[in-house]
Amino acid sequence: MTALHWATISPLLLAILIPFLYKYLRKIHTGWFVLALPLILFIYFIRFLPSTSAGNVIEHTVPWVPSLGIHFTVFIDGLSLLFALLITGIGALVVLYSIYYLSKKTERLNNFYVYLLMFMAAMLGVVLSDNLIVLYTFWELTSLASSLLISYWYHRKKSIYGAQKSMMVTVFGGFAMLGGFTLLYVMTGTFSIREIIGSLDLVTTNSLFLPAMLLILLGAFTKSAQFPFHIWLPDAMEAPTPVSAYLHSATMVKAGIYLVARFTPVFGGSQEWFWLLSGFGIVTLLWGSLSAIRQKDLKSILAFSTISQLGLIMCLLGLGSASLYYGYGTDTTMYTTATLAAIFHLINHATFKGSLFMTAGIIDHETGTRDIRKLGGLMTIMPVTFTISLIGTASMAGLPPFNGFLSKEMFFTGVLNASQLEIFNMQTVGMLFPVLAWVASIFTFLYCMILFFKTFTGKFKKENYDKPVHEAPLGMLISPIVLGSLVVIFGLFPNLLAYTLIEPAMNAILPTVLGPGEQFYVHIYHWHGFNTELFMTIGVVVLGTLLFLLMRKWAKLSIYLHERDPLNRVYDGTLILLSSSSHRVTSSFMKGSIRQYLIYIFSFMVLFLGYMLFKLNAVTLSGVESAPIVFHEAALAVVMCISAVTVVLARTRLTAIIGLGAVGYSLALFFVLFRAPDLALTQMVIETVSTVLFLLCFYHLPMFKAKFEKIPFRFTNLIVSLGVGILVTVLAISSHHSKSFESLASFFVNSSYDEAGGKNMVNVILVDFRGFDTLFEILVLAIAAIGIYSMVKLRLEKGES
């Protein structure tokens, strides 16, 4: 275990201490104890920056299950480090924010911070793991921690619904992903991502390439809320706001992005990867931005906005993967712009979305509502929150001079470049990308305006709020201020990030594009002349503003009034259908009737065994000599048959018992005829005793009706029992006629006397050669006797004699 390993799991270790700190140090808000850890981790990870910018990779391995090739391998390259910094950095800010957001008097802080630390460790594990199985383990832990956090206020029905939904969707995807990982292992024989990338030929030529890709993408899409799996994210907004800010904007939803970026070297360059990512990405972008407009709740707007921005990043990663198709060359830099934009926007999104969620939380906390129909006129009352929101929304809308503008410009460049690609059928449909991206950007601009103006401008209506509205305390404002400043700093000096974070991350995503000793050219400008991108942005601003001004007109449309995503109906309907149909299926055969279960068992036996008998040609009637049939034996057989049938047809209990006795005595007679004296003796005695027992039992049970109830004849019963009988007969005859080896009989004949000193072979076998059988048979009798005794004697209920 190296320091890096300890760093990865350190939040889990701290989580163990949290309940004790909470219990014994009630005076201090538990969050203060937590705060130090992400800060330390952030500083620890920052120290890796020089190393990764130089293109180095740090890797440490600790064996976990070495026999299965599962090692706890942590490794740091540009991509992992970027995510680790996001997780710890925003983690620290979120913890700070939560200290002021959650009251130590009313909230169960121990739960909150344990879950949060659990999540942080899981997320660090996901981004730092090299081993697929370890990655999967941490991946599921993020799902679990996320669900726990969503249902933090578990007495609310909606929280439980949201938590369950997010669990269902993400675990479904996670499970598919495990399948994909397994296929990768089948193809390459290793669980290590770096080794898989090292042996690419094994993967790309394999027929399992596509299934593995689809399964892994399913995992990534569900986690990153891509269309149509985005439905869980808006319902996850029932979580406390620090959780929404941390998990559902900055980190967990980017786990899917991370996964896609991490696997781009493996799958990138193929047509399917390109189309799936960019196609689903752009649909998500459009759908998310369109849905965000319809929301009336601040956090719901932000949730759909997150969905749409994740779609944007996903789409860019897809477009960027085209450069892997071309491989190393001079003109590929044109296509890598998309990847650059993806990473840059990833960072930007984490900063402005984090701050926006925090301001939404502040507004909720200080006014008691998040409904934009109630809010308004907060500009002068909450000036700091107002400023941060202004920066955040302007950046999200893509206005200069904030970082959102830069990434939006690069996004346009990316889609425009991609539309000129001459591969993957892009010649025919390529133009669709810039158009869709542009439309989505207009919607994005529109919801940003709605979000901002509806909250802060207009008239302040006092009657809408339950409590006196005022600015938030300073502590709550620190984190959004930090994030807001980052938005501005990254906006004004984007090249701070260029070669420290972005270039190493690009290097990790597109390793084969560069020649030896080369670096990606990352230079981000505000001003790049009057080009198409700029005119597109101007169009976005103009049209977006126009739409906002015309809002009165279209606000009455039903599409605006219905907030719920129509896809929820599919999800809810599927769940209901699943549970009702499984209930129907189960109740169709689990009727509680023993007779039916027996019929299932017997029919299965008859059909399965019968089928196998005929399929394997096992039915035979020749080969072994049979004993001759003698008249009196045949007569005895007839007697036996008649008595057996009598039992079935008997109308009174006594007849049935006598019939049973007759069968038993005929059996004893058969034993005599077939040279089995001991059996005949035993059978005689036992049959007598059991008949007596039957009679005795019924004699002392007058309440048992002497006559059987009239039994309705059931054809099924007859068929099934005939089937059983015929099957047994066929089996018996066939197996008798296909003996493949001699029996042991000669051994007993030879050694009964010599070795055991007895002349009665059966008795010698019972007590000498196979004495154990007898021992346990005695035990069976003893248990039966004790059972009977206790059943008769023990009375648990009252009123029984």
């Binding site: 007779r595 001759p628 045949a634 039994i711 029992s721 047994v728 008798h736 004949v749 009665n760 039966a784």
Partner: protein
């Protein structure tokens, strides 16, 4: 002879199964009794019938019937006797507790 006995065994199985499928506990127990008779007869038949003298060395015969199936049947008889008597008392107790010997009425509560 084996074929004839096999058919008899088949009939015993048919009867046993038919009884087991009925609703009355008594008939079910009688059914298990008949079924075990069938099984014992089957065991004996499978060892081969009338291959020689009874398995007593005192007979000094040239060949003997296979003693192993007989030992197995002997064990089985005793066990099925134990089980059958246990069943009987169980049926008696069931009747006492629930007031019925109809299996269809002993299904328990319907779950939704």
């Amino acid at each position: 002879m084996e074929i004839l006995i096999s058919i008899v065994v088949g009939l015993l199985f048919t009867v046993g199964t038919y009884l087991i499928l009925s609703r009355n506990i008594t008939r079910i127990i009688i059914g298990t009794g008949i079924l075990s008779h069938g099984v014992h007869l089957l065991l004996l038949t499978m060892g081969g019938l009338k291959k020689g003298a009874a398995p007593l060395l005192g007979q000094e015969a040239a060949s003997y019937t296979d003693p192993l199936p007989q030992a197995l049947i002997l064990t089985a008889i005793v066990i099925s006797f134990g089980v059958t008597s246990f069943f009987l008392v169980l049926a008696y107790r069931t009747y006492k507790a629930h007031g019925t010997d109809d299996m269809e009425k002993l299904r328990g509560i319907d779950h939704d």
